[in-house]
Symmetry: C2
Subunit: 386 residues, 2 copies
Amino acid sequence: MNNFEFKNPTKIIFGKDTIEKLTTEIPDNAKVLLLYGSGSIKKNGIYEQVKKALKSVVVIEFGGIPANPEYAVLMEALKIIKEQNITFLLAVGGGSVIDGTKFLSSAALYKGDTPWDILTSNTPTTKGMPFGTVLTLPATGSEMNSGAVITRKDTQEKLAMGGPGLFPIFSILDPQVIQSIPERQLVNGITDAFMHVLEQYMTYPAGAYLQDRFAEGILQTLIEIAPKVIDDPSNYIAASNFMWCCTMALNGLIQKGVPTDWAVHAIGHELTALYGIDHARTLAIIAPSHYKYNFEAKKQKLSQYAERIWNINEGSTDDKANAAIEKTEEFFNKLGINTKLSQYTGDYEGTAQKISGRFTERGWLGLGEHKTLTPSDVEKIVAMAY
Amino acid sequence: MNNFEFKNPTKIIFGKDTIEKLTTEIPDNAKVLLLYGSGSIKKNGIYEQVKKALKSVVVIEFGGIPANPEYAVLMEALKIIKEQNITFLLAVGGGSVIDGTKFLSSAALYKGDTPWDILTSNTPTTKGMPFGTVLTLPATGSEMNSGAVITRKDTQEKLAMGGPGLFPIFSILDPQVIQSIPERQLVNGITDAFMHVLEQYMTYPAGAYLQDRFAEGILQTLIEIAPKVIDDPSNYIAASNFMWCCTMALNGLIQKGVPTDWAVHAIGHELTALYGIDHARTLAIIAPSHYKYNFEAKKQKLSQYAERIWNINEGSTDDKANAAIEKTEEFFNKLGINTKLSQYTGDYEGTAQKISGRFTERGWLGLGEHKTLTPSDVEKIVAMAY
């Protein structure tokens, strides 16, 4: 087990009819900017529940944060935060709205030239404007971590930021919200959480037995609840386990003491930037190729995953590892998630070179748990995913 | 899954040679009371590491906190805290020293008549004097939770306290410390952590699939590492998993959203108060009888535990549940832990009546996950454990 530090101060308020608890979580004298996305919260009743709980504080609203939170849109919100002397941010949404709010939390107190530097400088944010979240879409885990990913259309970039100052003060998780989520987004959420776990697990054995068991527990639970969530999102047992899995998949716990990969995310982000493919689907496209390309380095863990998650106990380490990759692809396909780039765009020729070129330009020094994957390796992985 | 709230702000610093990080975790202007137990830290090198890391702050020492932290001893430490205007407490020890420090954290800021009221009043502590810990004995999980149990010899009492103000600011967990721990305490630690998990798991199915998987992950890991830890405490992989299991077994995570029992602890505490039997051993004495006595209420979870932990897949639910109780007792026995009261004292006759009498006196209204066990039930459970 590697040395690690772990601190996660976010207060989770989980369960049925918990949105009303907003009333006691936001300071009485706060001036709140309520941030949301495309406006679906006005159709599914969440907006009314939030407004009712906030009736004793001053609230200004900012809607329209898009999926893959866009820098230009967030800069409009930042203007309001400064003009209106906002003191507390409340994200009501999924990962995009929460990530955008984290950027704003940092940008609101940022002293440098342009907030874009927060994304390009790689400096962790140690203090941000306080914010809470009401989660409306389980997937990214952003509700209980301190990281965010922001998109900039005009440069086709998607960059990460974060720091110990960017944990939500509180996050309200009412699993009942998934009842109004379209199936497309439910399967994206399941896939996203599943891949978050694999990025922190599918490396090499590091003697972190407990972290492995926790990671496997999330995978087993996601596999168990996936068909139930899709069949009937009002199944509360399935919904609540789905939601808690997504949070636990990326709140820092399972990554502590183990090597982590994240190459699938790094490559997947490029597919979203280039083609606008849903984030989760880009992961499902890249992961099988990535695991096949890096088979020797990952086969011990692939084989453990085969045994413990897919009950594959016959054959050699290689056999089990290969079967596990197939099972993973099958799992995504059964959810209705395509795992080849050509199923998403006719214009895929040259994508591999384009992505490796962007990595070279940006001066990335190596991806994966060993930091050894080069742009040329990335090119081959992407080409295998056509 | 039940509704829950979860917030655990303790910073964990885990790994090899991490005690030196004390230097950066304690405020420069702090006046520190360093609390420890019987003085073993002066023999195993931990004391020197701590003192070296603290050389730039004012440190006063208080040693001699006994196993089952004694109220009278802690009151002496409280006097020093007040006389010396101590601002920060540092516990260097196992659960007893850390629990004692939590009591002092609360008592240092307590405004009532006598600090004993903190234990009898059941009022959660919302603010305590800040404290950190250096864990020297993995077992209780006290290093990452906000609860404590304090003993008072003159009244033969052992009472619980806690509250959101009693999380350690930081806890330093260096698994190398277990190399100097006697085998008796190592097996106590494994048993304690194992029973902490069972108290939060062995109830009835509540649709908390992920929490069940996490609980099972800790049990599986403890079973895997137990013989290795005992065989060679310098086995770092075994030691680090042992230590992290103990912390995760009682840091609040696995109890969220599920019913919990804790009757085994309530009864076990009485055996320690009456006979001075090691805490962990009292749990191993009571648990098998408790599960047999409450078999109908617990057999669904006992059967799940049989399948997932002990690979017992044959027979009826009752068969599997019964076999799981046997396997648990066998696991303790293999560790060298006796599971019958008569193996600890010749003077056991009448213990059952004595304990049920104490419960009646204290006006306890019901134990277990359904809060329905009466003093008469407790009497029968204890008698079954003779």
